[in-house]
């Protein structure tokens, strides 16, 4: 599904050449849930932009779905730390925004609005927001906005979901709730995920594989396979193998921060 072959990205900053990513090689299979963790400023977000084709690599090659990435990939849904809802649109209209942009939905939307609306309502139902569809984003809590943001990222049934620290601004309880929401959405829809996060427990709970990045210039220093059986209940967070995994990831990151 996703291949990065020896990718380097550098750009001209105010103080000269900055290398955000150096010789990164990454492989994510179709339907896989991959997490990328690393110290802050290690180029995780750059990685996301490379995969979605928002920026082009300086060296190396990015492949998505067997084709070279030369521009925005159009099969990706994205969600960020800030929910970025449009305040003048109701929740359901925010969720349906991608349908106004992506083909073939764009051409069909006006004719099949009722069917699309139903699809959006179903998705809102999965994340527990069905009753809030006609509310406005500013009437909702941060956690609820983030749920809506996930729906917006998924409404056009993307093959790839890119998440850049989507739960970082939420409190611990809401975060765990949303892990479960994301886990269930992923089981149900079977998309490929790249989740960029600081939260090692989040990565270990959700992902099939965890890629650890080094400090800048970032590259992947270690890849772990997480084989806790699925579906994973939240209780897995409190088992010894889980805490051991988080602990060893923690040590690895401490090590690369030093280096």
């Amino acid at each position: 599904m996703i291949r990065l072959h020896d990718v380097t990205l550098s750009y001209r900053g105010r103080t000269g050449e900055v290398t955000a990513l150096a010789h990164t090689t990454l492989k994510v299979e179709k339907g896989e849930f991959a997490a990328v963790v690393g110290p802050s400023g290690c180029g995780k977000s750059t990685l996301m932009k490379l995969v979605t084709g928002l920026i082009r690599p300086t060296k190396g090659k990015v492949e998505v779905d067997g084709a070279d990435v030369t521009g925005p990939v159009k099969i990706a849904g994205m969600a960020f730390q800030a929910a970025n809802m449009l305040p003048w649109r109701s929740v359901i209209d925010n969720v349906m925004l991608p349908l106004e942009i992506v083909q073939p939905h764009r051409g069909r939307l006006s004719r099949e609005r009722a069917a699309y609306r139903e699809r959006a309502m179903d998705l809102l139902g999965v994340v527990g927001l069905r009753d809030f569809a006609d509310r406005y984003p500013w009437e909702m809590s941060g956690g609820m906005q983030q749920r809506a943001s996930l729906c917006r990222a998924l409404i056009h049934e993307p093959a790839l979901l890119m998440l850049d620290e989507p739960f970082a601004a939420l409190d611990a309880f809401t975060r765990e709730e949303l892990w479960v929401v994301l886990r269930d959405l992923w089981h149900r829809l079977g998309f490929t995920v790249i989740l960029v996060t600081h939260d090692l427990r989040e990565a270990a709970f959700l992902a099939d594989t965890i890629h650890v990045m080094s400090a800048r210039p970032g590259h992947i220093v270690e890849t772990r396979t997480v084989d806790f059986p699925r579906p994973r209940p939240l209780d897995v967070l409190y088992t010894t193998p889980f805490t051991d995994l988080v602990h060893s990831l923690r040590n690895k990151i401490a090590e690369v921060r030093q280096a």
């Binding site: 932009k49 979605t52 084709g53 928002l54 925005p72 990939v73 159009k74 990706a76 849904g77 994205m78 969600a79 960020f80 800030a82 970025n84 809802m85 449009l86 305040p87 003048w88 925004l97 991608p98 106004e100 942009i101 992506v102 083909q103 406005y136 984003p137 500013w138 009437e139 909702m140 941060g142 906005q145 917006r152 990222a153 056009h156 890119m162 850049d164």
Partner: protein
Amino acid sequence: MRITAEDLTPVAFTLAIFVLWELACILFRIDSFILPAPTAVAAAMVQYWWPLLKNSFVTLWTTTVGFLLAVAFGIALGIIVGWSRAIYRGLYPVMIGFNSIPKVAVVPILIMWFGIGEIPAILTAFLISFFPIVVNVATGLATTEPDLEDVLRALGASKLDIMRKVGIPRTGPYLRGGGGVGNHRRQCRARPPDGSGGLQLPDAAGVRRPDGARDRGHPHVRGVRRAGKAHG
């Protein structure tokens, strides 16, 4: 809808101010030539209702025409300026500069050019509302959240799509504020208490938040009123 005590406060405060004003005029024996009491003003309004109405009508139509022209040209220029960051950054200081010229100072020049009459009035109303509209439209377009832009670009959105779906609508409440359209009121009401939900823009000199939420007294509403005075 139930009327709460809070809904009545504007009425109560307005009445209170008139009462205080009246009392001050009586207590301090202020000459009606210096400051007429509200009752005297009301009496004059009854007595001269016809000339007042006639002149108000002229003010209304000249300022409306000026405002509509400003909306049309302001949006057009705002879209051009906001289209690219480079144009925006280049022209922003120029626009702020023009906007800081006191419009009242321009009025005598307009009168010299066009004579006394409707045209200088229309132009004054136009000048007062034009720059805030340009600056707001341009700012709304040029400062779309980078994350949101990424979301849309990753979907294959063109620059025009982003303008249509995000840039232009986000300047909408500001513009509608001038017309007092209902949706604007609704946005006024519900401000996210923690400030999390709303898109936010940097405050710049003479620039209002385009979500219209912070202040009910919109600059062009005020502008129109002031222009009316300049004319009358």
